[in-house]
């Protein structure tokens, strides 16, 4: 509601792909969510596809290099915290093999 009054909302831009989108909240505890907290400081918007009060995480900052990245699988992953894909690749062997396989599968596909 506040955002509506302010007019145009702030915009989040991924540093890795071209994605950009307005967001409603940055942080871990979006006020409009009652029983959910986020495990990272994230750019969040109210889910535009449902009339319920749901949220949609658009992106966050890489916990290693601090770049803003979207949650798209080509730009970042979340594994206990957010990693941009570059940082993941640099430290690939540190991730469990399930995660590595997942990334390999992506590369092939």
């Amino acid at each position: 509601m506040d955002a509506e009054k302010e007019g145009k909302r702030r915009s989040f831009e991924c540093s890795s792909c071209q994605f950009s989108s307005p967001y409603d909240y940055f942080g871990k505890r979006p006020g409009f969510l009652k029983s959910i907290v986020l495990l990272e400081e994230a750019y969040v918007m109210k889910d535009p596809f449902t009339p319920e009060n749901r949220h949609l995480t658009l992106g966050g900052h890489c916990s290693e290099c601090n770049k803003p990245v979207c949650v798209g699988k080509d730009c970042s992953i979340f594994y206990t915290r957010r990693f941009c894909i570059d940082c993941v690749m640099e430290n690939l062997e540190e991730f469990p093999k399930e995660v590595q396989q997942e990334l390999n599968k992506k590369d092939k596909g």
Partner: protein
Amino acid sequence: MPRDRSDEDRYRRSSDHSRRHHERRDERKSHHESHRERSSYSERSQREDYERHDSSSRRRDSNHRHRYDESSSRYDDTKHEYRKEREDGTRNKIKSSSRSSPERHRERRPSRFSDLHVRKPSWNFYGYTSDDIKDAEKLQKERDTSTSNSGGTVISTGLRASSAFTGSSSNQNLEHQDRTQEEMKRTDKQRSEEQGKPETETSSVAWSFDWDRHRYELDKLFFDDDGVLKRGSSDYGDFWSFFERYQSFQSKKQARLGSHKAKKTEEDKHAKTGKLKLPRTFDKRHSINLEMTVPSKHTLKSYSHVTASGEEKDELTSERVLEFKKVLLLYLGFNQKQQFNKVVKLRKDQCNLPIAKYRETIVEAVRKNSVVIVAGDTGCGKSTQVPQYLMSAGFDSVAVTQPRRIACISLAKRVGYETLHEYGSQVGYQIRFETTKTQATKLLFLTEGLLLRQLQLDPVLSQYSVLILDEVHERHLHGDFLLGVLRCMMEQRDDLKLVLMSATININLFSNYFKDAPVIQVPGRLYPIQVEYVPIKESEQGSKSERLDARPYLRIMQRIDHKYPDSERGDLLVFLSGVSEISSVVEAAKMYASQTNRWIVLPLHSSLSVAEQDKAFDISPEGVRKCIVSTNIAETSVTIDGVRFIVDSGKVKEMNYNSQAKMQQLQEFWISRASSEQRKGRAGRTGPGVCFRLYGEDDYDAFQAYSTPEIQRVPLDSLLLQMVALGLKRPREFPFIEAPPANSIENSITFLKEQGALSEKEKLTPVGRMLSQLPVDVVIGKMLIMGTIFKMIDPVLSIAAALSVQSPFTSRAHRDHDAMSARKSLESDHGDPFTLLNAYDEWIQMKASGGSSSRKWCKRRGLEEQRFYEMSKLKKQFKELLDTNNLLGMKDARREYSSLERQSRNRERKRLRELKRKTQNSSKKRKLLKLENEDFDDSDEDEESDDDASKLQDIQFKLSHDVTEMEAKSNMNRSLLNREINLLKVILCSGLYPQLAIADDCNSYRKESDQVFHTKAKPFVVLHPTGIFATNPDVLEPPDGDTLPEETTGKRGALSAKHQLLSYVSLLETNKPYLMNTMRVPALQTMLLYARSLDTNQQCTRLIVDEWLEFCFADSEAAEDILPVVLHLRATWIKVLEMRLKESQRSLNFGAADLRVVHLERLLARKLAEYLSSHVEYTMRKLGATDLQHLYIGSSGGLLKSSDDEFFSTFSKDSEPHPTKGGWKVTDFMTYGW
């Protein structure tokens, strides 16, 4: 009103369609991630295909045959896609159908979830997709059955582990065979991996646990109002279906692994190692970036723990709660991914629109110019994107006009959605009955008509800084007028930006009109369409009166069957000129279809019920094509996906207005080249298409380039009234983009003067001002104003509303004998307006009785319920308008709702919100058509699926109307006394006059033959077969009576007090000129009240009315009784009206209603009632041409005033000789003693 109606209807109807279409598209888009591609052709593959072939096929456009073959082979490529689509379609149907078949059983979800409206998402959690799981499971199942060494573990979960995964039939198995091989490898690998997973993965929480038994408790823990998901929402349904699958997956895994507990590997002990300090052990939980705050630790404590005794096996232990929570988290993580992909897809789709490349160009052009034209064809995205471009470029207060109401709603929704509600409530719409406009609104979609109305209050539209007029090429009356107004306004407002958006039709016309405004042309997105000219043989052309010969159409169907394998999908759309042509072709095509079993034939035109029209959007079964036989409704306003073939008859029926006869004429014409291209283009929306033109190429060349704009062929009464009301000084010189015929303007000005809306000096009168504010035709508006004077406003409002919407009678209504007999009690032998009144009142009764069965009630009687809802809204709007203008006199004390009523309204409001949510999330799905649906008997099914929508409407209706009060009023209407009916008729005639007709002397008054009537301007018109008098002509039979001696009248004629005339709402010529919506009225009383000229002889025994009818009395006494009364009444009526309107100008001050007016009104009502029931015997006849020549003695007659005329002198002391007729002018309408 008569003139606008058909076109209005068309828009209304068609807009319904476009909305449905849009909604479907929205739905498809929004569910895109969860459904596999459902569009008729797989768009992607088609597009790639198109791109591959595009250039080559265009080059070969002339070489049809060659292209033909090539295109057919091309279709083979995509065959696979079609089949897939069809399967999806089938699956859809199965969900909505309740009949069972083995296959369906397999497909169906456990019944207790069927009410949740669960979509089937494509699962993708921690890297496994639904397909992976499916195949893995299938594999497992196969192994289980083949080796049967699984230890006989019976998997029985409370949720009855869904078999949905294994449901896909064996042919899919074959299709995926090679994939399965791969899966097998992967599954083996996967298994070995899973064995290495920590305990939580294959936790001690048995997956055979009956979760459903604890549903209530789980709901309370997780899905309360403050919960993560709301009970009843679609996500909630989604989750449970996710849970089900997860559970089934887990339990199978458990079965596979037996009781072996996974061993912890060495690695686990080295948690959090390395630079990143990541836990080495993989847990899906770590991939999810959120946590739940419910249930609290405190709550959790109240649950028991797992004990060794195993007593807890049915109990919801804290471990189980946590396990449940984990699955919920996994779901939320999965859901986040899904939603994010939706956003990405949306952005991508926007970027892929043809117009996206022109974004900067458009924004720049608008910045630099005051008028810009954006021309682009179907599918280029201009309607949704251009407003967004301008918004994000910083323009605010943007208004976008649309010719159709429904487009406003769907576009506002679509733009809101595409911008992810970036602008919040700043995107809104405004149409006749609804608005979402608020203070915050910065982008508003509204109808052309509404913007014109806003001009009355805000002549320079200062509230907007950008105006976008969309679809200007359609050249509707309002659009054309708006163009003119805005061109003038641009001179006063140099800050205003004007953007015209149009199809690539006649762009120079618009550009020139606005001083060579720059044009930005955007290509559309059409696939190549092959055109073939197939002129109809002379022997099959037939004459006008014959039924259309369907053979040429059947031959094309045959050719399609012959040439294109039925595995290639693609429907046929046939364009015909009108309803009777459609029924000829439909009939023949159905015969053909029943022989071949390859076609489903569906008519499409605006007089079908909404449900019948909806069928055109449904999906045909595999190997069967739809053949949609349509009017030009499918040319622009209705868009049907999946059309591959077009048959174009090249004909259209258009309404034209004959201002001499005041008659609408529906005539058949050749279409324009523009319209011909438009029809063709309908085949190329989702893939390459074929268009068969049933005319020669030379015919095509001879077509006029563009269709005749509306302004050239409709009456301009309302438009001119509005122009004068806007203060346009010289309406005749208004700079229209293309001027209407001069005589059309003159006729309308004359008409407005006759109706008292314009003064002789062509200034707006008080009545005219009032009329200009009512959103209806002058005729209906006048009824409303006159109705306010008498205390009978409710039935007048109902009838005025009924006459302003499309008829509630469907085309079935007049064919179906059951419907006809069910409707019998609604019919009124007073005429069609009264039948409409009865129908509406009866419907209100149904609503008030609380039955949700009003829809069924309507259906049984061949009525379209939608129309009644529209009437209610319109009626309410009329009432409010009259009320704000202080025309309703003493207000009804507003009824207070009782506390009980208030409670129930609150409940209803809550239900409404729930239903809205529900319907928003599950907009109508396309159904699967059945092959042999010759009648509409699958209605029950329709009702079931439309249930929510109709409930929603029912509640909305009840909340916005006081049904109890309406019921009371309808009760009153149902028991109208005869004298009240007469009064009502007179009120209606105040608007309808002079639309009256007299019966021919030779009428038989039997049903079998046409009854002939004569209006003043148009002799020999007949009753329309749908009217009440066509089936009950006997009530029109002229009365018997003595005849007057020859010397008095010169002609025979029965002396009676019961002569009648027919009033009608419109005169419509199709194959014959028809009187529409007729009502019988007392002849003498009506004529004397409204006649523009009343001439009597000296004895007052002979009256000539409007130089059209002659009334004769047996002696002068009769006339002397009635004539002074008439003069009195007319004078008082005018006075009352003046006073009323004067009062309406004054500001509203309560209780200050002028008592004199009230008194005068009562007097008038009483006198009028007396007058109407006065018993005067007279003869009546229509004057012939020769009579008219010798009617008056002329000015040379030189009659002296005799003592007889003394009673007239009280009205007009200084009556003077009439200049041409002779005799004396008593009032401006009455001449005496010629």
